[in-house]
């Protein structure tokens, strides 16, 4: 009788799962093949036929490996993305917007950096709070096992969301302008993009990133049991 455990181990050796999960899959599939083979032998098939029919249960090992990986990883990936990017990102976005609203309600006035020809506003207290928001996002993402890139992306998430909103506002504004009979020139759009881009996107983005990078440097300096060992 063939060693099914060894056969499956060899065929699925490159299955990209963690060691424990891979071992469980290999044992489970080997046991299935072992039982199939035993049953076929009991039915009276000769060893060669039983072996052939048992192996026909799999056919293409490469395809099986791929399908197991997709089935096992799909849920993992979605959960990981949710905890490493979406939750920290949206929390930071909500927090930064709440802080901005609170400062506005408290009567803090924006600082005007450039008044002519176009105005650039800076909410200084809000900008000063953003590194903490960025830091929180990076902390949450890193704690959920997020990579450096994911943590940075989570920290600047509010700015990415604002960029999306800004970019979608321009075509809508242009259409509304045409309906209302106002001509919106390219230079108007470009200047507004530039000034608002600096005040609402670039500088806040740098502030968020500063907090995120600082926390990342602090955490990456420490040995962590959560970081997977590669190699």
């Amino acid at each position: 009788m063939p060693d099914w455990q060894e056969l499956v181990r060899q065929r699925l050796s490159s299955l990209a799962l963690d060691a424990e999960e891979k071992d469980e899959v290999q044992v489970e599939l080997a046991t299935h093949l072992e039982e199939t083979h035993e049953c076929l032998r009991k039915e009276g098939l000769c060893e060669a036929d039983a072996m052939q029919r048992t192996l026909a249960q799999v056919g293409d090992w490469h395809n099986l490996r791929r399908r197991i990986l997709i089935a096992k990883r799909k849920g993992h990936l979605m959960k990981k993305r949710l905890h490493q990017l979406w939750i920290p990102g949206f929390l930071t976005l909500i927090l930064s917007m709440l802080v901005l609203t609170a400062f506005q309600k408290l009567g803090f006035q924006p600082r005007i950096a450039v008044s002519r020809p176009n105005t650039i506003f800076f909410y200084v207290p809000w900008l000063l709070s953003l590194p903490f928001c960025g830091a929180l996002a990076t902390y949450l993402s890193s704690r959920a096992g997020g990579s450096r890139g994911t943590a940075v992306l989570a920290s600047v998430f509010p700015v990415l969301a604002l960029t999306g909103a800004f970019l979608s506002m321009f075509p809508i504004g242009s259409i509304l302008g045409r309906i209302m009979g106002r001509r919106v020139g390219f230079s108007d759009v470009a200047t507004t993009l530039l000034t608002d881009g600096v005040g609402w996107l670039l500088v806040p983005g740098v502030a968020l990133l500063a907090g995120g990078v600082l926390v990342h440097l602090l955490f990456s300096g420490r040995p962590s049991s959560q970081n997977p060992v590669i190699g």
């Binding site: 599939l29 249960q57 096992k72």
Partner: protein
């Protein structure tokens, strides 16, 4: 040719239905389905396990290791409350599909 969506739906219904009767491991499950459908539905290892893992990820079934009478380690699958909840609308959907097909084929034979 039967589309992959229909195939998957049939397989999910078969697995959930057979697990409703009690916990089973993969090999037993395949045998039970084959026996109960008189050979109309057959699961090879390559079709069964990716399906079981996907259903486990969705939370419809849960696998746990057990030692069998023969001393083998086997992963036994059970229906979860989410799986039980899924089974009823799935049965209804398939019943509707079959009755629609039945009606359709009667019309075309007339």
């Amino acid at each position: 040719m039967i589309g992959s969506g229909i195939k998957r739906g049939t397989a999910e219904l078969a697995i959930l239905s057979v697990l409703e009767e009690g916990p089973l491991h993969g090999y037993e499950m395949a045998r039970r389905i084959e026996e109960q459908t008189k050979g109309a539905l057959r699961f090879t290892l390559a079709a069964l396990y990716p399906m079981l893992y996907r259903m486990e990820q969705r939370g419809w079934i849960r696998g746990a290791w057990e030692i069998s009478h023969s001393g083998r380690r086997k992963r036994c699958y059970r229906l979860t409350p989410a799986g039980k909840k899924k089974l009823s609308p799935l049965r209804k959907e398939w019943a509707e599909l079959f009755s629609a097909l039945k009606r359709l084929t009667k019309v075309s034979h007339a």
